[in-house]
């Protein structure tokens, strides 16, 4: 008589006894002992042809175990001595008509790349069209509201200004100061060998006023408020609140999108002005430490280095960036479908797209202002 056991101490074990034409199972036949029992039984049934598997001493049986026994049993092999509860389980499992899980044929790598490329291009084209369409609808709704000033929602707009503007002041201040410090520090190090470290003040003032102030503010606002627009509108979309608005005869464009666009178009230039001021303050701190230029001297030099054009170039861009951020944020919010994960996906896309477009537009602005001589 041969005996085989599996499993260590404490773990469930199964023993198989060979007794003439009968294989007697003893112990537990469940997911933990299944693999061992399966191999062992297959080998023994292959070697000789036992007529029966005896289950009398089986202490426990689960569905995978029952499935194994069902597969082994048949015309030649009988299951005997099963306890009533084990028999009930065997009856249930044996009558199931099991089909294998469907498989997908994997696509070759090169085709995947090609398909992905085509799909992304197609999506980018559709996206571009969607942005233009939404921009048009948003502007038309805004024009409509201005034509009927009673529909302007001052309370809603002022809430947006508070959320996107006032709450953002501390973080914008910190970012603007830090960026100015970085620019000033690098300039001093690079210009000192030529004895031109005084020009640090020119570099800081021109780069902060023309580019850095508005760019840092826009990127911050895209991350902070653009994402909030998408999430707020997206959750409303997912919970059918937008549909509820429509059934009440309200236009979601007018109620949700226009106040956000107007709020941000008002806020972003103001935030940019604030960032400009904070940036110059940061620059004056660095020049005070490294070059012993007092803040009052610094600001006198700023007046010589930068003129009102530099300031205007920065400020003019702000409302355009605000429009882009608000439109992208609201558009992606409206694109949300029922599920919670689509809110997350659209929020990510909205932030990435808004920052991307802000930087692309900024490049075009640089060329444009150079051409018009500002």
């Amino acid at each position: 008589m041969r005996r085989a056991t599996t499993g260590g101490s404490g773990a469930p074990a199964i023993a198989i006894r060979e007794d003439g034409e009968t294989l007697a199972l003893e112990g537990a036949l469940d997911v933990r002992t299944l693999t061992a029992a399966e191999d062992d039984l297959a080998r023994r049934l292959g070697e000789r042809k036992p007529r029966a598997i005896d289950l009398e001493k089986l202490s426990s049986l689960d569905t995978p175990g029952a499935l194994l026994l069902c597969r082994l049993s048949g015309d030649k092999v009988k299951l005997t001595g099963a306890r009533p509860d084990h028999q009930a389980l065997l009856d249930l499992v044996c009558k199931l008509d099991l089909a294998p899980l469907p498989r997908h044929k994997p696509m070759p790598r090169w085709r995947q790349v090609l398909v992905q490329l085509g799909r992304s291009t197609h999506e980018a084209v559709l996206d571009g069209r969607d942005i233009l369409v939404f921009l048009g609808r948003a502007l038309s709704a805004t024009a409509h509201v201005f034509a009927h000033p009673a529909r302007l929602r001052p309370a809603s707009i002022s809430r947006q200004i508070a959320d996107t503007g006032i709450d953002a002041l501390p973080i914008i201040a910190l970012m603007a100061i830090m960026i100015a410090v970085v620019i000033a520090y690098q300039s001093v190090v690079q210009l000192r060998p030529y004895g031109g470290e005084d020009f640090t003040i020119n570099l800081v003032s021109v780069s902060v006023l023309r580019e850095m102030g508005v760019l840092i503010t826009s990127i911050m606002v895209a991350g902070r408020s653009g994402s909030a627009f998408t999430a707020e509108i997206g959750v409303m979309k997912a919970r059918e609140e937008i549909d509820a608005l429509h059934t009440m005869g309200l236009d979601a464009m007018e109620v949700l999108v226009v106040p956000r666009i107007l709020g941000l178009v008002i806020t972003l230039p103001l935030l940019t002005f604030f960032a400009d001021a904070m940036g110059l303050f940061g620059g004056s701190m660095v020049t005070n430490w490294l070059l012993n230029v007092s803040p009052s001297q610094f600001f006198v030099r700023v007046h010589e280095a930068a003129d009102h054009n530099d300031f205007l170039v920065g400020i003019i861009k702000a409302p355009v960036f605000a429009l882009i951020i608000a439109v992208i944020g609201c558009m992606h919010g409206m694109r949300v479908t029922g599920s919670a994960e689509s809110v997350g996906r659209e929020t990510t896309r909205s932030v990435v797209k808004a920052i991307f477009l802000v930087i692309v537009l900024d490049a075009f602005f640089s060329i444009f202002f150079e051409k018009v001589g500002m």
């Binding site: 997911v31 306890r83 509860d85 389980l89 249930l92 499992v93 089909a99």
Partner: protein, 276 residues
């Protein structure tokens, strides 16, 4: 007689082999508070091996909180829960997965995995089965829960409400748990699908010998399949068979089990019994 009633009155050799009637889960003096609001004020509950126990109560009576406490997802503010004589918070990992299976109200299927992958996840984490065996077992569980193997390739977002419940049930059954917790298994389903789920619960309870704790306010489930019912009101649980509870003097329980909807469910039950 309903299937549940049959089993209750004639303990068969089937039940004895599984040790039916012995307590498998005990909750003593459960107190749960949220801020100043006391949801449970000393709930005592005993779940017997092999039974279908319903947990019912009005909205906000703490049905789901009680289920979270029984499964060890939430530690009670006072009192203790033991499953098979062990405190529930001392049961971990694979052991817990093999002991309890939970069907959450919304299904809680992992949205990034297909239905079959959802079912195979506990098998992959807690057993050392071969890939082919795991797939066979997953296909069997789907079949047991009333789905087809081809549904295994679908993703949770492609399923109807009834299929979500069945797929989640297949996942809850993955490791052949000894207790199955079902949170509102029939909510949001049309009556036909709901009674299909009820029948499935009875069938699994009978054939697999799995103990079922079902949180529900579906009166058809309560009258149709539950061996015993625990009704939560005023922070306490009143436990008994439906017949016992119907004689209760407690005004809320009386209203709950004698209201117009309860009468309709009761009539349906009698008609059902008559046909058998």
């Amino acid at each position: 007689m309903t299937a549940a009633a049959t089993r209750r009155k004639s303990p068969s050799a089937l039940g004895e082999g599984r040790g039916e009637g012995q307590p498998i889960l005990e909750a003593r003096g459960i107190v749960n508070r949220f801020g100043k609001q006391t949801v449970h004020d000393g709930v005592d509950l005993e779940v017997k091996r092999g039974e279908i126990l319903g947990i019912a109560g009005g909205s906000g009576s703490g049905k789901s909180v009680l289920m979270r406490t029984l499964t060890g997802l939430k530690a009670p503010d006072r009192g203790k829960v033991t499953i098979e004589d062990r405190p529930v918070d001392a049961i971990h990992d694979g052991e817990k997965a093999a002991l309890i299976g939970v069907l959450f109200q919304q299904g809680a299927l992992f949205s990034s995995l297909s239905v079959a992958q959802n079912v195979m996840l506990p098998l992959r984490e807690h057993t050392r089965l071969k890939e082919a065996d795991r797939e066979t077992i997953a296909s069997m569980k789907l079949e047991l829960a009333g789905l087809e193997a081809k549904d295994g390739a679908k993703f949770p977002s492609e399923l109807s409400g009834g299929m979500v419940k069945r797929a989640a049930l297949a996942r809850a059954l993955a490791l052949d748990p000894r207790i199955l917790f079902l949170d509102e298994p029939t909510s949001g389903l049309d009556p036909l699908v709901a009674s299909g789920i009820d029948e499935l619960i009875v069938e699994l309870n009978h054939a697999l010998g799995v103990t079922v704790v079902v949180v529900t306010h579906d009166l058809n489930t309560i009258f149709g399949i539950c061996d015993r019912v625990a009704i939560l009101s005023d922070g306490k649980a009143t436990v008994g068979t439906v017949e016992e509870l119907m004689r209760s003097k407690d005004p809320w329980i009386h209203e709950f089990l004698h209201g117009p909807r309860a009468q309709a469910a009761l009539t349906a039950r009698h008609k059902h019994d008559g046909k058998r």
